[in-house]
């Protein structure tokens, strides 16, 4: 559980998650379904996401303060079981339909539920997603609640490991679609989101989007190998990305500055350094899609200005993305990216593992709360 404690958030910034606002809560009452259409979900696997780590480490932006409610149980990448035994994946966005807001906001009415304008209103306490809302609970628990509008049944053929990757895969599919097709596409970062973005791009290509050459900057050898397996044409070390993009685009270089670049670049890290690199390798008139959750950043935007580069955010997904993510998870066998399962009691070890996933040759670290029982 994450509690509202400015002191603990501040301490986490300095000392890491061990000093942070996350604690293991025992003896809690299970959240009750708040009304008709709500169901209890017992998580089977719940992923640890980069945004979760940023939250418990106190690194996330204060932007979120009005759109979360404390205390909350983290965990928004969830495959679980309903009381009737059906397996479901939870689509965590707490949109108008979930909040019983009528009429729906303009974004929800348009099907763009990830951009819902009512995430702090309606029947629920504020919370942009399950896992950040005090009313719903989250996946890092024995039980949580979810609304009909959030539930996606899991086909029998799909393993829990594949299913828990559906939510991040939906993010990646949504992000991939935000960048215009380009002859050369670069992906900065090859953690879960980077790898899934590669898989998503290939999925979109298979679906008819004009294919492009996909280059990936990956820090660790296993990430490079996985990127290649998932469809990258070239996976290189981050410091080699500029050269790889130059070669692929047959660009010239003025000093270290490319004259051309990749038409679309996905920043799947969200750090100032990754954004700066993304801007360095983007072609004039190209697009940078911000996929990884950013925070406060100091970045030289001169190349963005001088080369008329578009910077575009990519947050979450629509229902259509989510449904497509099931296909992607099955087709690409995304369950192989699940590297570890921890009981809730070992949450500190799990978070340490997730925070060092690259160095420890891991990708997705998960909790397996169901295994506790």
């Amino acid at each position: 559980m994450v509690e509202r404690s400015l002191a603990r958030f501040a301490a986490a910034r300095v000392g890491g998650s061990r000093l942070g606002p996350l604690r293991l809560a025992t003896g809690m009452d299970e959240p009750a379904p708040p009304g008709p259409g709500w169901h209890r979900v017992r998580p089977r696997l719940a992923g640890i996401c980069g945004s979760d780590l940023a939250t418990v480490d106190g690194r996330s932006s204060r932007w979120f303060e009005p759109i979360v409610s404390f205390p909350f149980v983290p965990g928004h990448e969830v495959v679980g079981t309903l009381d009737d035994g059906r397996r479901v994946v939870v689509e965590p966005v707490l949109k108008c339909a979930t909040r019983a807001v009528a009429p729906p906001c303009a974004m929800c009415a348009d099907g763009r539920t990830n951009l819902c304008e009512r995430v702090a209103f309606g029947d629920l306490e504020p919370g942009l997603q399950t896992g950040y809302c005090t009313d719903t609970g989250g996946g890092w628990s024995q039980a949580m609640v979810a609304h009909d509008s959030q539930l996606h049944p899991v086909p029998d053929a799909l393993s829990d490991e594949d299913a828990v990757m559906v939510e991040p895969a939906a993010c990646a599919l949504h992000a991939a679609a935000q960048g215009p097709p380009a002859a050369t596409v670069a992906v900065v970062g090859a953690g879960t989101l980077g790898l899934l973005t590669v898989a998503a791009l290939r999925h979109l290509h298979a679906g008819g989007r004009p294919p492009g050459r996909v280059l990936v900057a990956a820090k660790h050898p296993h990430q490079r190998a996985l990127a290649a397996e998932l469809g990258a044409d070239e996976a290189c070390r981050p410091e080699a990305l500029e050269r790889a993009v130059r070669r692929a685009t047959r660009s010239l270089a003025a000093g270290r500055q490319l004259t051309g670049g990749a038409g679309t670049v996905y920043d799947c890290v969200g750090s100032p350094a990754s954004l700066a690199q993304a801007l360095r390798v983007t072609a004039p008139g190209g697009t940078v899609v911000l996929v990884g959750m950013p925070g406060p950043a100091v970045v030289d935007l001169t190349p963005l200005w001088q080369r008329e580069v578009a910077l575009r955010g990519a947050y979450a997904y629509t229902r259509a993305d989510f449904q497509a993510a099931f296909e992607l998870a099955a087709a690409a066998g995304l369950g192989r990216l699940v590297s570890a399962r921890y009981p809730l009691e070992r949450f500190r070890a799990a978070l340490d593992h997730a925070a060092a996933a690259g160095r420890r040759e891991a990708v997705k670290v998960t909790f397996a709360p169901g295994k506790d029982r």
Binding site: E234, R237, A240, R243, A244, R246, R247, R250, L252
Partner: protein, 529 residues
């Protein structure tokens, strides 16, 4: 009278043997009773009066050529092409052979009233030479007379107006060479023949030829069938160069070839011990070794490179011959063989060698891992006539630190080759099909080659093709003391010590293998019977 080269059987009394280790040295003991060492012949005496010898060669040409003065006349266009900085190795003390020859040719041209004279550095796809390098090769007098007026040029294979297509050989090989040379009344080629691979028709067929032409012999399959590079009669590369050279001549380009050889007096004091046989080291030699080896081990890599880049070898002109290309080259080879051939009985299971600080493509530069591969598998492995020193399926053990280090100005495409191509394949045929053209035509590499000091974009591939015969022949390559990551990227195995390497080699060739150590440089050609 210099002593010939010879083969020493290692026994219990054999002292530790010298191995080059890049810009460092190592002493290694090889197992007694099954190891042997091939030592090069001692240097032949240099020409007592090289100026006179050059003049004599120009006036008494070989083959069906006229003496040079009779080929010179007022109003004619004369082009002098000279070997670039890849020769000789290490760079020689002034005056360089090229200076002596070019000055003699220019004197005769001046006597004949020839005004239209242009000098071209025969770079092929090598990097351009700096002013200092040109001055060193040609001397200040020639440089100052020709460079300011733009008559000292460097071949630019990518200058659209600078090359002309002369048709194809009967094997379909494109012949595209320098327009200036092709339209001159006479081309004089000035060569330094360090090893038997150099010279002959290869001079023009590489020195002033474009990629379009070079790709016909600088490719994986040709190099796989070049056995060896030092034996032109069994070299598919030379056969192609000879066809191209004959086509150039048949196209009406008149060539007067001047080839020189050097003796093998390779290292100056205080490195004289490098040319000696270990059991003949004096106390002073041993002290020099200890001082040099320990000092170099403590010296940062960049400083070590600077120290060795400053080495100017004492080798001097040992022969000069001029006239018709093929007749001249036969004479050159005879001189080379006289001073470099060493008879060796039979092949070995394991061949060992140390790669020294310099190769043809890292003069005043960094010997990057690709050049280490080329130096060992491309050049030293090919220092044979008859059969390779190591049997098919045998193991090559190389001593070199193999740092993951590249000169960004000289070898930009090498960096990309190392990053992009080698992780995917070390098969020369596969990489040629998939990647060569993209590198060869990359506009950025072309720009750097033409305007900077970069090797052409395709050159890294050529270095790997140079290894093609060895890669096919060997059962494994082990690098002692190499940076493991870089060594593995090359597809080779790293070993910490020679003992480890020999043990690893045993896994491939069996226990108690025969071992041969190639004690070079100074250079030799093993005549393997």
């Amino acid at each position: 009278m210099p002593r010939p080269g010879f083969v020493l059987d290692v026994d219990a009394s054999t002292p530790p043997l010298l191995f080059w280790h890049g810009e460092q040295f190592r002493l290694e003991r090889l197992p007694a009773g099954r190891s042997r060492v091939i030592y090069p012949p001692e240097p032949v005496a240099p020409l007592a009066d090289p100026d006179a010898a050059v003049r004599h060669a120009l006036l008494h040409p070989l083959g069906d050529s006229q003496p040079l003065p009779s080929l010179l006349r007022p109003g004619m266009a004369l082009t002098i092409v000279f070997d670039d900085l890849s020769l000789p190795l290490p760079p020689m003390r002034r005056p360089d052979n090229r200076q002596l020859v070019v000055e003699a040719v220019l004197d005769l041209a001046a006597d004949a009233g020839v005004d239209d004279v242009v000098l071209i550095a025969g770079l092929g796809l090598h990097r351009r030479m700096t002013e200092a390098e040109l001055r060193h090769a040609l001397g200040d007098r020639v440089y100052d007379a020709f460079a300011p007026s733009g008559r000292l040029t460097q071949f630019d294979a990518e200058d659209p107006g600078g090359v002309v297509h002369l048709g194809t050989t009967d094997h379909g090989e494109d012949v595209e060479i320098s327009t200036r040379a092709a339209t001159s009344d006479l081309v004089v080629y000035v060569n330094i023949n360090l090893v038997a691979m150099d010279g002959g028709h290869k001079s023009l067929a590489t020195g002033i030829s474009s990629y379009r032409s070079l790709r016909h012999h600088h490719n994986a399959r040709t190099l796989q069938h070049t056995r060896s590079l030092m034996d032109r009669h069994r070299s598919a590369l030379h056969a192609s160069a000879w066809r191209i050279g004959r086509h150039i001549a048949a196209s009406g380009v008149k060539v007067f070839q001047i080839e020189t050889t050097l003796n093998t007096d390779t290292f100056p004091d205080p490195f004289g011990f490098l040319s000696k046989r270990e059991w003949e080291w004096t106390a002073r030699d041993r002290a020099s070794y200890v001082a040099a080896a320990s000092a170099l081990d403590r010296t940062p890599a960049a400083l070590r490179r600077s120290i060795f880049s400053a080495v100017r070898a004492p080798h001097r002109m040992a022969s000069v011959q001029a006239g018709e290309v093929e007749a001249v080259h036969e004479s050159t080879l005879a001189h080379l063989h006289r001073q470099q051939l060493v008879e060796v009985a039979g092949q070995t299971d394991v061949l060992t060698m140390g790669v020294p600080f310099v190769g043809p493509y890292n003069v005043n530069s960094i010997m990057n891992p690709i050049l280490v591969a080329c130096g060992s598998l491309g050049y030293f492995f090919n220092l044979y006539r008859g059969r390779p020193l190591v049997r098919e399926g045998g193991v090559l053990i190389v001593h070199h630190p193999t740092p993951w280090s590249f000169h960004p100005v000289h070898h930009p495409s090498y960096i990309d080759f190392f990053e992009q191509v080698l992780p995917e394949t070390t098969d020369p045929v596969v990489m040629e099909a998939k990647y060569e053209e993209a590198f060869a035509t990359d506009p950025w590499y072309v720009h750097l080659y033409r305007t900077g000091y970069a090797y052409h974009g395709v050159h890294a591939f050529y270095m790997w093709y140079w290894c093609a015969h060895a890669l096919q022949h060997l059962g494994g390559v082990i690098v002692v003391g190499g940076e493991p990551r870089a060594v593995r990227r090359l597809g080779f195995k790293p070993a910490s010590t020679m003992d480890d390497a020999l043990e690893m080699a045993s896994d491939v060739v069996g226990a108690h293998p025969t071992i041969t150590h190639l004690h070079a440089p100074p250079l030799l050609i093993a005549d393997v019977r």
